[in-house]
């Protein structure tokens, strides 16, 4: 078989070079493969016939696929004040705290003002519609609205952190307005 072009001829020179001993280093970059000669019979089928590439797979190229798995630690929430609801619900496409939640805000504000060492996360959530990152930003708007309401009630900024879960942790499964209304919310989680 005639060498068909310059690339092939160069590759053949590489093969010969490789046979000398530097093969595994040369080929590491292209996945520990070995160039076959033109379609003349490749007589030796044993691993030794492949000029030193034997055994290199684990260390080079082809074998570098190991993944070392990690388990994330679980989070433990702190004790919340008794007798105060912890969830503020929002209208569709709305980021304003409805007046009916004024009592809830007051209850948490009193607790936080009287326990200045306690901190609370305001966790914003959305319904399932739309992209994950964009919903994260929308959930943040809801969390921020609750943070402002608590700040207006005199709670120290250092006790509050507004964060978002976007659509990742729905309170109610399923689609439709009934589930969505339960999912558009801010949860107050004490640390």
């Amino acid at each position: 078989m005639q060498v068909s072009n310059a690339f092939e001829s160069q590759a053949r020179r590489l093969t010969r070079l490789a046979a000398v001993a530097t093969l595994s280093a040369v080929l590491a970059a292209c996945g520990s493969s070995v160039k076959l000669e033109d379609a003349a019979p490749v007589a030796d089928r044993s691993s030794n016939g492949l000029a030193g590439s034997n055994g290199s797979a684990g260390a080079n190229g082809v074998g570098q696929r190991g993944i070392s798995g990690v388990q994330a630690d679980a989070f433990k929430a702190g004790q919340a004040p008794a007798n105060v609801e912890r969830v503020v619900y929002f209208d569709f496409d709305s980021y304003a705290v409805r007046p009916e939640f004024n009592g809830l805000i007051d209850g948490h504000a009193k607790f936080l003002n009287g326990n200045s060492q306690r901190r609370v996360n305001l966790e914003g959530h959305t319904d399932e519609r739309g992209g994950r990152e964009y919903n994260l930003a929308l959930g943040q708007k809801r969390a921020e609205a609750v943070r402002r309401a608590l700040a207006v009630s005199g709670v120290s900024d250092s006790q509050l952190e507004a964060v978002s879960f976007g659509k990742e942790k729905p309170a109610a499964q399923g689609s439709g307005e009934e589930a969505w209304a339960q999912n558009r919310r801010v949860e107050l989680t004490y640390r």
Partner: protein, 439 residues
Amino acid sequence: MMKISGPDDHSPASGRRRSLLTLAGAGLLGAPLAPAWAQFRVEVSGVGAKQIPVAIAPFQGSSPANADVPAIIRADLERSGVFRLIAAQGGALDENSRPDLGPWRERADALLTGSVIRLANGQFDVRFRLWDTLKAQDLGGLSFPVAAADLRLAAHKVADYVFEKLTGAKGVFSTRIAYVSKNGARYSLWVADADGEGAQAALTSNEPIISPAWSPSGAQLAYVSFEARKPVIYVHDIANGHRRPVATWRGSNSAPAWAPDASRMLATLTLSGNSQVYEISPNGGGNPRRLTQTGGIDTEAVFTPDGASIYFVSDRGGSPQIYRMPARGGSAERVTFNGNYNISPAISPDGRWLAYIARLGGAFKLQVMELSSGNIASVTDTSDDERPTFAPNSRLIMYASKIGGREALLTTTLDGQIKTRLASVPGDIREPNWGPFPR
């Protein structure tokens, strides 16, 4: 190089669904299917797709059942949308044969021969040779002596060789993807072959994981984990599991994106109360530099391949739209105008295409825009599309959607004509990100 014409025509066009064929039903496979392939689907839609006919002769020797080398090669080539696989029976051809190419020429432009032989040391030797049947030319061959665990990778590398020889573009079959599964209350971040097989968990958690993003070298993944009961960005070295939080600022930290040279990252932070785009260090620490200055939402920023610009989503015009601005900040120019919800921009590695998600009549649909012309095509039949990501050769887009009520990953050619559903781990599968070419 031989002159088999490649698919030059990449202009997206809305494809009409014509047929659904499984690999098993396509009659292309001489070898029995491994069980994992039972869920693999290739959907061909539209007409006039220019596909190169390729014949694969039955490989001599045998592969283990869980890594059927010629079947993996066939599936790779078919999924690319570039090739039409031709049934090849009879004969006892392998990489050493000099086949009479005359009869093959009638049906295929190229013929792949090969073998999978178990070596004395327990490894497998995967060998192949590719022939140009039209020119009766030997297009070369390789030998991959690999451990059994690397047989799938060897098969993908054979497919990459065929793809590159016949199209002139690099194949992506041996690249890797990352994605997230939710199975019950358990979230896992997976690294898998580009066909979805061979998945290994890099992280498991009882809290959500979103937005994985491969580092330019392919050695690390950035992602958002909620394990601290808030969104925090981590950078995770996947080979050894070492990871570090790189954005733990007050509020939410999300939407990580790497600069092409890995020197910096973009992230969405809420230091001003609202979500804004910042530049941060991939090593953590330092002061984040704010790049956008609005009172609303700016998020999902990504670099262009040259690192000079960023595309991002902003509601500054009253609804979420995609904008472009200089990578170090500056005035932004609006890119999307159709409809009132356009999010999740992805720029192809060749810089020619923008993929994104639009809300169209209540459905969320993958869109492909040719940046030079502004022409837009809607390329899917699904209605819950999310988070597009380009293959490193810019020829395929992977995205998440819902199929039969379950979240799944799919790929499509840029013109929407060839779609596949990826094999996957159990549960809902989402948040794909396609890794780079191996370095």
